[in-house]
Symmetry: C2
Subunit: 621 residues, 2 copies
């Protein structure tokens, strides 16, 4: 029976101190979070809660806006929890007060529907994002309460959740609907955990279980609006069949990830085997058929989502930032039910590649979509549909929570990040200190701090990309017990005990399944968790003119001056002799090639110098 | 000074009799044209001219509809000209009478605006397609008149053209606008040629010359509608700058082709050097940077048009049927000004590949877009925006007009098609008989029929794909005079004189410019004018699993049973061993390969058996 056994160590108990994440988290705190606020303020999202909008005024509060603000609020709260900041604290207090004032007498809260279309409240659950917005504000309230101990926003959102619980459900007189954009389901689980109120868990379960049942609620609703209910593809929002009958990841990728995350949460809270089984089936489908090498997902911008198996085009990949973040959420939740490394492997892949690529080193420009090949793609300061920048901010602000987990008997290290975690094992304070230059080097030292000896199992993930990992305890080789991709070392740990983990990290070529049309005849470069790419500014010839011979040696070297310090991969490649080719668009003999230096940088760092061609998958010469 | 020197021999004087085109033209006449009528009738397009639509009725006559009907009318007229058919003649008469009745007292004629939005007449030239629809009805009127000698529709359309001439122009009180979808410009030239009325030529010239001048008419118009004029990309409809300043093919591909066709027409009629120079610059840009191997054009469905240089994705190629047809029109018009084989080369490439692929062998299903790689693409019986099927029908019904041309001194053979052309050279009747199994074989015999000896130059195109062409006159080797890709044979021709042309037609690999990212490391297969492709139903392994080694011999064999008789290309290729690969989506070592038979068929015939994977560009193994 599934249960939430491996509980994450909260980010507030994990102090990250390394050369890779620390600067990024600092930029997130000092640049990205304030930038998100500035943008929300400038675009009217903050002031929309004043409910002063009148017909004819511009801008019109948009149905998405509350979610953007909710995610910023959550990010700022996470940040505040770890880094006290009175100015930010007071900014949050003031804004929370304005949110509280915007709440309607019955508990309803939405800056668009309160003033722009009050008559349309709950009339279009499929498209109007009301419960989605509520979900993000609930997540914000939980984070704000956890960070500050203040119940100001939590009380507001509990009232709203209670009102939602009154309106929606299977009882006579209740609306038997659910949201077109999943989010409230996982938010209600968080609200349950922080309040202990089971009704929120029940409501979340209702939303998840009702989804996709016949008659389809969205079809009934569309009919009530006078629309043709058959014209909507219900796969788009995962309401085409009951969730336990869904076997393929489908539709809008962000929505899918949020739904599956809630399913994992509920499976754990309610020990629901069939829900966990559905999660695992969907997971298997995703990771064997529809996931980009970068951990990105969603192949098409048309539905911002999934298309067909193995359809993973590079230049037109959508691979939305929010979908990658959603995958981190889902993988992280699954790892709480089952300590199997494939969850953290995918979480790591998404984090280090798809997710990190979405933000510039400066922290103030963002990718919405994260293609694996590009010509003119460029990060933007903001988007009219601005889901990604604050989503990234809240993930990074709570990133420390992804690193460790613990069960009653075990401490788990999912990710290798220089850090110091404070745990309580069997009521006893234990410190876990990681020292590592990961992801640049595969050597990790984990030191235990404990006032007195204490017995527990230490589970260390052996990444799926790694072959030949070696473990030592206090300089003595140790095999440990291999269990679902983790090495488990159980013993009585004493203060100062040190475990060294050596994860060999050669540069490797990686190949895609032959059914992936876009990658046929191509290889990617990977080193450790990092996927690499070629950028135009590192090459004289266009990136597309280069091919990497199958037997060309690959070397790597750390360049401390480049992009904040980065391991660069080099090889002797072939390049097309464009001058010899001339101007013909087509001709009956192939281009001549000559040798050329190839230089690859981590995908997550591309686009930080010049706008230009980029490619992850290289032709094999 | 450009002038219209090489005038096409009208299709009515060219009787096609071969094994390739004859069956296709018969299907066009017996299936496609009637099918177009049935669809126009069923969908309300025919009856829309009754102007009986009232508020609330479905369907609402659409702004495009008149153009669909116009193209069907034109196709049916061309067909009637060559194949008398009293039933069709009378169907046309009846419909023409209904069109005539729909004409407004002032001459205006449009089945949408007359009843649906009468107050919006000429209010949105950018999007509303009014002049575009007028153009297609004018082309239909010219064809109907030429086919039947009846002025019924011609008179109606002259009245409409006169009204348009009254409304639009540079004079005070006139609307200084032009259509967002070019078409009327080339139609007015046709109307001028058939009526001799110079005002139509002047009006066409006005529309072309006014286009893109500042202040931009569409911007003024958008402002008048209360819209932000800066939000429209004027490249989309080629109004971003005056046509003589345009150097890159841009925007919606069909619109571009129709504009450039009119520019070529006007350059010839008005001996306008700068207009011809602009055409040639745009032509050079198209054929060296933005043309698919199949003669398709337009890389993206977003704008149904051009994107960036060398951006020629295969699976997402738009390559709209109408754009390929538009390219045939443009190339054909340019060949009238300058007998340079590159025009007929491109015309041939577009005709034999992009255009012919758009229709099934049965003649009743169609591709709108013609990608060069596909997985689930399937021809449809009709489209809500149904521009392509009747456009194809009218091109095929008048296809004979593309084969020959003549100047005062010369007879030109642009295309090799078994046929019999009736010409008048210096007032004397001359017959030109072509015998050939082209495109399957490169041997062509051209026999002259003439009652008495007559001197003229016979220009035979040496296709750009051909190396080592040989010419004989009456079995004696002859060099002729090579001139811009044609061999010119001038002599006193006697009845029965025979010219044999041998065009060696080996199977060849063809490669794309190194800047074409989508085709890097890939080769296409071509034989004569035909581009080949692989289809799933000819292979056990998925098409994408196949790679063609650079040195694999290519053989071909005519299969009389397949697809109406077709030359099939075979080779020993490599295929991925999928079983060995297993289920991993990514892994660090490449797939194993094994040998497999590869079989390619002409691209124009794909999709006639099963829906499945197709690819033009094959990986070089």
């Amino acid at each position: 029976m599934p249960s939430r056994t491996f509980i994450p160590v909260p980010h507030t108990q994990v102090k990250i101190d390394d050369s890779f994440w620390s600067p990024r988290l600092k930029v997130n705190r000092e640049q990205t979070i304030p930038h998100n606020y500035e943008q929300c303020k400038e675009t009217g999202r903050i002031d929309a809660f004043k409910l002063e909008w009148k017909e004819g005024m511009e801008p019109v509060p948009h149905i998405f806006w509350d979610s953007d603000v909710g995610k910023w609020l959550e990010a700022a709260s996470h940040s505040l929890a770890a880094h006290p900041d009175p100015a930010l604290d007071s900014l949050l207090d003031n804004f929370v007060a304005s949110v509280a004032k915007a709440q309607q007498p019955d508990g309803y809260l939405n800056s668009h529907f309160a003033v722009v279309e009050p008559e349309k409240r709950w009339r279009n659950l499929r498209d109007a994002h009301e419960l989605y917005c509520a979900g993000h504000l609930i997540e914000a309230a939980v984070a704000h309460y956890q960070a500050t101990g203040k119940r100001t926003l939590l009380d507001v959102m509990q009232r709203y959740a209670d009102y939602i619980d009154f309106v929606f459900g299977p009882k006579p007189g209740q609306v038997r609907g659910y949201c077109g954009h999943e989010e409230i389901e996982l938010a209600l689980v968080k609200l349950y955990r922080v309040t202990g109120e089971k009704r929120y868990l029940r409501l979340s379960g209702y939303f998840v279980n009702e989804r996709g049942r016949e008659p389809n609620y969205f079809a009934l609703e569309a009919e009530a609006r006078g629309e043709d209910p058959t014209r909507f593809p219900y796969e788009y929002n995962q309401s085409h069949k009951p969730v336990r009958e869904q076997t393929e990841v489908t539709g809008h990728a962000v929505r899918a990830m949020y739904l599956y995350s809630a399913m994992a949460d509920l499976a754990g809270e309610l020990n629901d085997e069939s829900l966990f089984a559905a999660c695992k089936t969907l997971w298997r489908h995703l990771i064997t058929k529809r996931l980009y090498l970068t951990g990105g997902l969603g192949s098409s911008w048309r539905n911002e989502g999934f298309t067909r198996d193995y359809d993973l085009p590079n230049e037109t990949a959508y691979a939305e930032t929010c979908a990658g973040i959603g995958l981190v959420f889902w993988a992280h939740r699954l790892s709480q039910l089952e300590c199997d490394s494939e969850y953290a492997d995918v979480m790591e892949r998404a984090l280090y590649n798809n997710v990190l690529s979405s933000v510039s080193l400066g922290g103030r420009t963002f990718f919405y979509d994260n293609p694996l090949a590009a010509t003119t793609h460029e990060r933007q300061a903001w988007f009219s549909c601005a889901c990604c920048p604050p989503n990234l901010a809240r993930l990074l602000a709570s990133f420390g929570g992804c690193v460790y987990a613990q069960s009653e008997t075990d401490v788990v290290v999912h990710l290798y990040v220089g850090s110091h975690a404070q745990l309580s094992v069997g009521g006893q304070r234990v410190g876990v200190v990681q020292e590592t230059a990961y992801p640049w080097q595969g050597a990790v030292t984990i030191r235990i701090e404990s006032e007195s000896p204490i017995r527990f199992g230490l589970r260390l993930r052996i990444p799926g990309w790694c072959r030949g990992a070696a473990v030592k305890i206090n300089d003595t080789d140790s095999k440990g017990l291999a269990e679902k991709g983790y090495v488990r070392l159980e013993r009585e740990w004493r203060n100062g005990d040190a475990v060294s983990l050596d994860l060999p990290m050669p540069v490797e070529r990686v190949y895609a399944h032959p059914n992936v049309r876009a990658d046929a005849g191509r290889a990617g470069l990977q080193r450790g968790p990092l996927v690499y790419c070629l950028e135009a500014c590192d090459h004289v010839a266009p990136v597309n003119h280069l091919a990497l011979p199958a037997d060309a040696p690959l070397t790597c070297r750390f360049d401390p001056e480049l992009l904040g310090g980065v391991m660069v991969i080099s090889a002797e490649a072939l390049r097309v002799d464009e001058a010899e080719w001339g101007k013909d668009l087509y001709r009956p003999h192939p281009a001549r090639t000559t040798s050329a230096a190839l230089r690859a940088i981590p995908y997550c760092l591309w686009g930080n110098r010049e706008v230009g061609e980029m490619a992850v998958w290289l032709r094999s010469g």
